[in-house]
Each structure stands twice: as structure tokens, then as C-alpha cells.
């Protein structure tokens, strides 16, 4: 299976933030959710993929090619949606599309117009007068109009109304019918990824906590709830993250069998955690 994205030992340092030895891969034709709290490094990774910021160390291969050596080849095949889409505010939607389209060899103006119609984008309106949601739709329409094989979506649903969020997720699922388009979808709204994402990569403080398929994730983690007396020197090391309350505790563990054996089936309850619970508990622990 060839990969849409391979990241190996990627590092980048800022005065107040460090991205450390990040590695993960996304097979072609799948959606990966890049999750983590604000400031975890999601946007930095996307900027590094696009070579908007320079990496200190490591490798990034997009569609099998190095993202710096073959930058323009790769960008011809990438559709990018920024978390705060910015365009020339004084140009109309139509002129913005014509301006962006000039740079892509495979630009399909008919497809852009179809998508603009579907998204309700007024072609004659100035971009500066569009709402944030409409600008996001414009960014998405532009990203989908040049036959992109790899979509990079940086927090595309934040600030959108629930109706368009659902539409966007449905559009993404529809795109993958062809089996050649891959998506890296960064978000801190984990519920957006419960259905469409095939793979999940969780970032925390600039490090990858895990990167695996959604099924593997659900199978490998367990959420344990029980009384506070169950937490002792023997049981605590089995948990990756623990949240204690006056009524008991919630613990996240990847060593389900050991936890069950130690705590027993009667004194504690065991559930498969949602993505939201995983992110919440691990972020709290951090």
C-alpha cells in the first residue's frame, strides 16, 4: 500500500514551543484526523508539510516525494484549507477563483462553479464581505477544483454552523469514493472525526501520543471508572491518565487485561472511550 504522507522524526523548535521527533504515515485513499488541544502542534505540522515553515530535522514525503525538493509538484496535487482562510478581500469570488486557478495545471473551472453552486457561494460578491463560514466554503471549493490527491484541512470546521459542518464531512466522505484522495484533517473538535476518520494521530505538547487506525484505537484503550480506593501503588502505573473526583476516578489505560485482572469485574466498570474522552483525559494528565 503506497502512502499519501510519511513523516519521520520531524522536529521544529520555536522559542516557546518544540515539536519533537514526530513520526506517522497516512496510506493513500484514507482520512486521518490530527487531534490534540490548542497549541499541541497540529498547525505547525501542516505548515511544515506545505513548507510554510522550515523544519529543523526529519523528513516529510508527500505522495512519495520530498516536500522541499519537489515542492511545486506536490503543491499542484495538494488542496489546502487554512484555519482562518484569507483571500484578497477586494476581489470577487469569481476573480479569486480565476486568480488561484491560473497556478494549477489541472484547474477545472466547471467543477469550481458546480461546487460554488452547491455551497451557495455568490460568485459576484467581494470576498471581504463573506462571513467566516462562507470563506471556509470558498477555501474548500478552491481546494477541490484542481484534482487534488491530498487534502490538508487545518481546523476546517471551527466556527462553522452545524449544518455546514455535516455537509463538509459528507463531502469529504464522498470524495474518498474514488480511492485516490487522501485527507489530513486537523481539529480539536474530536466529534467531527468519530465517523469519517480512518486513522487518528493524537498530538500533545509537540509529541505524538499515538497514531493508529480508529478501530485499533478503540480496541487498545479502555476507560475505567471506579471508587477512589481502587487507586493504589499497584494499579496507578497501569493508567496512562487518571482523573480523580470526590466520587471516584476515571482512568485511561492501554493495558486493559492487566487492569481487569487487578481490579476485578465487579468493583469497576469498563468502557471503550470516545476520542473526546481520550483527548480530555490525556490533556488533563499532561
Amino acid at each position: 500500500m503506497d502512502d499519501a504522507l510519511v513523516i519521520r522524526n520531524l522536529s521544529k523548535s520555536y522559542p516557546d514551543f518544540l515539536l519533537r521527533e514526530v513520526s506517522f504515515r497516512l496510506p493513500r485513499g484514507y482520512i486521518m484526523g490530527l487531534i490534540g488541544p490548542n497549541g499541541a502542534g497540529k498547525t505547525t505540522i501542516i505548515k511544515l508539510i506545505l513548507n510554510l515553515v522550515r523544519r529543523d530535522d526529519g523528513q516529510i514525503a508527500v505522495l512519495g516525494r520530498d516536500n522541499i525538493a519537489d515542492e511545486t509538484w506536490i503543491k499542484q496535487r495538494i488542496g489546502f484549507v487554512h484555519e482562518t482562510p484569507a483571500f484578497y478581500g477586494h476581489l470577487t469570488v469569481r476573480r479569486t477563483a480565476s486568480l488561484a486557478g491560473r497556478f494549477y495545471d489541472a484547474w477545472d473551472d466547471g467543477r469550481f462553479r458546480r461546487l460554488a453552486g452547491e455551497f451557495g457561494l455568490p460568485l459576484g460578491k467581494r470576498v471581504g464581505r463573506l462571513s467566516r463560514g462562507m470563506k471556509m466554503k470558498l477555501a474548500l471549493a478552491l481546494a477541490l477544483s484542481h484534482g487534488a490527491e491530498f487534502l490538508l484541512l487545518d481546523e476546517p470546521t471551527s466556527g462553522l454552523d452545524p449544518v455546514f459542518r455535516r455537509e463538509l464531512l459528507a463531502t469529504l466522505s464522498g470524495l474518498l469514493q474514488d480511492g485516490r484522495t487522501s485527507v489530513l484533517f486537523s481539529t480539536h473538535i474530536t466529534s467531527d472525526l468519530e465517523r469519517p476518520a480512518d486513522f487518528i494521530t493524537f498530538l500533545l505538547d509537540g509529541e505524538v501520543v499515538f497514531s493508529s487506525s480508529r478501530e485499533a484505537l478503540r480496541d487498545s484503550w479502555i476507560l475505567v471508572k471506579g471508587g477512589g480506593d481502587l487507586l493504589d501503588e499497584c494499579s496507578r502505573p497501569l493508567f496512562r491518565a487518571v482523573r480523580e473526583t470526590p466520587f471516584g476516578f476515571q482512568g485511561l489505560s492501554s493495558r486493559g487485561a492487566e487492569v481487569r485482572r487487578l481490579l476485578g469485574e465487579e468493583r469497576a466498570t469498563y468502557e471503550k472511550p470516545t476520542l473526546d474522552e481520550i483527548v480530555f483525559l490525556m490533556s488533563k494528565e499532561s
Binding site: 509538484w73 484569507a86 478581500g89 497556478f103
Partner: protein, 239 residues
């Protein structure tokens, strides 16, 4: 590269009409004093060069621009080319508008013909080339706001350095410094006067074509150095 230049001119479209109105309003007043007329043309040309950076900086468009299938060196190269085209267009307008307006409105005391010479053109182009060659690397490294803040300091420092070099040269050849770079009241009417001694010495010693070729080469070297620095700065910049 051509696509980027077209893009720049499309984006800067909103600035053309205000610039033209400003030009028409100022030209009849300033055409009588060549130095002020020259400065007005320089300011308008600089604003037109700044038009696209202003739009892209205020609307934070660099990530959008650099996510397009382009290399950063192409973005820098296109900016230099469009700046060059704006300078040449401004020079052409300056050279044709002054005599035209003087004749049409019969402005007394106007001597627009003074600028219609190679030295006159040089008095517009050379300062603009130096000015933009300093500004653009600062812009590509630091962004518009910081570049505009630092530029006056850089220009002051360079002026002091240039002044010191002229005085040193004058001391070495045992002549007053005004013989090398004359600055007097007449400069208001003859703005290219400081360039005359230098140009005439060069053309006398090398021949007219070779002298002018050398001056053009010097301009080209300044631009090439500036372009190289800009590309390095922009390629290192985190957006």
C-alpha cells in the same frame, strides 16, 4: 513568474485610479519645480510598488500565496519584476506628462525639458533602485510594518556612509566635496545636477556608451545583490 506578475497587477488594480487622481492633482502644481515634481513621482511610484505588499500584509495572505504551487524564489522574483515594470511605467509617465501639461496649461517658468535626458532619467531611476533594493530584502525578511520602520534608519546610516565616502574622496583628490556631489540652490530646478559630474567623468574617460553601460551595470549589480538577499531571507522565513 508571468502568472504572479499578472496576479500582482490585478491585485493592485484598486490603487491605479487613486494614484492617477493624485498625479493629476499634483502635477500642475509641482511641474514648476523639478525637484518636487521628481519627488512626487518617486513617492507615487513607491506607493504603487507597495500596493501589493500592503494588501498581502494587512490581509495576512502569505500562507495562501505560499500554499500555491510556487517556489518562494518565484514570488520574490515576480515582485522585483513588477517593481521594475512600475518604475519604467512611472518614468515614462513622468517624462511625457510634464512637457504635455506645461504646454497644455501654459505653466509659466516650467522647465520640464530638464528631466528629458539620460541624466534626468537617472535622477529618478537610481535613487528608486537603491531605495527599493534596500526596502525589498527588509520586507521579505521582516514583513511590511517592520521594514517600513527600519528603512529610514538604514537610509540615514547609508547617507552618512555615502557622505563620508564623498568627503574622503574629495580629500584624496584635493578638491572640495561639492565638486564631486554638488548641492546648491539650483538643485531645485536641476534635480539631476549631482549626477552630472560623475556621469560626465565616466563618459569622458570611457566614452558615452561605455560610461552609461557602466552606470547601468552598477544599477544591475545593486538589484542582483538585493534580489539574492531577498530570496535567502524569504526562503528562511517562517510564515
Amino acid at each position: 513568474m508571468f502568472r504572479l506578475i499578472v496576479k500582482d497587477f490585478k491585485v493592485a488594480g484598486i490603487f491605479w485610479l487613486p494614484a492617477l487622481i493624485l498625479y493629476l492633482l499634483s502635477i500642475s502644481t509641482f511641474v514648476q519645480v523639478n525637484l518636487v515634481y521628481l519627488l512626487v513621482n518617486m513617492v507615487i511610484a513607491f506607493i504603487l510598488v507597495l500596493a501589493v505588499p500592503i494588501v498581502e500584509d494587512t490581509q495576512r495572505l502569505e500562507p495562501f500565496l505560499c500554499s500555491l504551487p510556487l517556489k518562494r524564489r518565484q514570488v520574490v522574483g515576480a515582485r522585483y519584476l513588477s517593481a521594475g515594470m512600475i518604475l519604467l511605467a512611472s518614468l515614462a509617465i513622468m517624462e511625457t506628462a510634464a512637457p504635455l501639461f506645461s504646454a497644455v496649461f501654459e505653466i509659466e517658468g516650467a522647465r520640464p525639458g530638464i528631466l528629458l535626458s539620460p541624466a534626468g532619467a537617472l535622477s529618478f531611476l537610481l535613487p528608486m533602485i537603491v531605495f527599493l533594493s534596500l526596502f525589498l530584502p527588509l520586507y521579505f525578511r521582516l514583513g511590511l510594518g517592520k521594514a517600513l520602520s527600519i528603512l529610514p534608519i538604514v537610509i540615514l546610516a547609508l547617507s552618512a556612509f555615502f557622505g563620508a565616502v564623498i568627503r574622503l574622496a574629495a580629500w584624496l583628490i584635493h578638491e572640495p566635496w561639492t565638486a564631486i556631489f554638488p548641492l546648491d540652490a539650483e538643485i531645485g530646478v536641476v534635480p539631476y545636477k549631482p549626477f552630472l559630474p560623475l556621469a560626465s567623468r565616466l563618459t569622458n574617460s570611457l566614452g558615452t556608451p561605455a560610461g552609461w553601460a557602466l552606470i547601468l551595470l552598477a544599477g544591475g549589480v545593486i538589484v542582483a545583490l538585493s534580489l539574492r538577499v531577498s530570496i535567502r531571507c524569504y526562503e528562511k522565513k517562517d510564515l
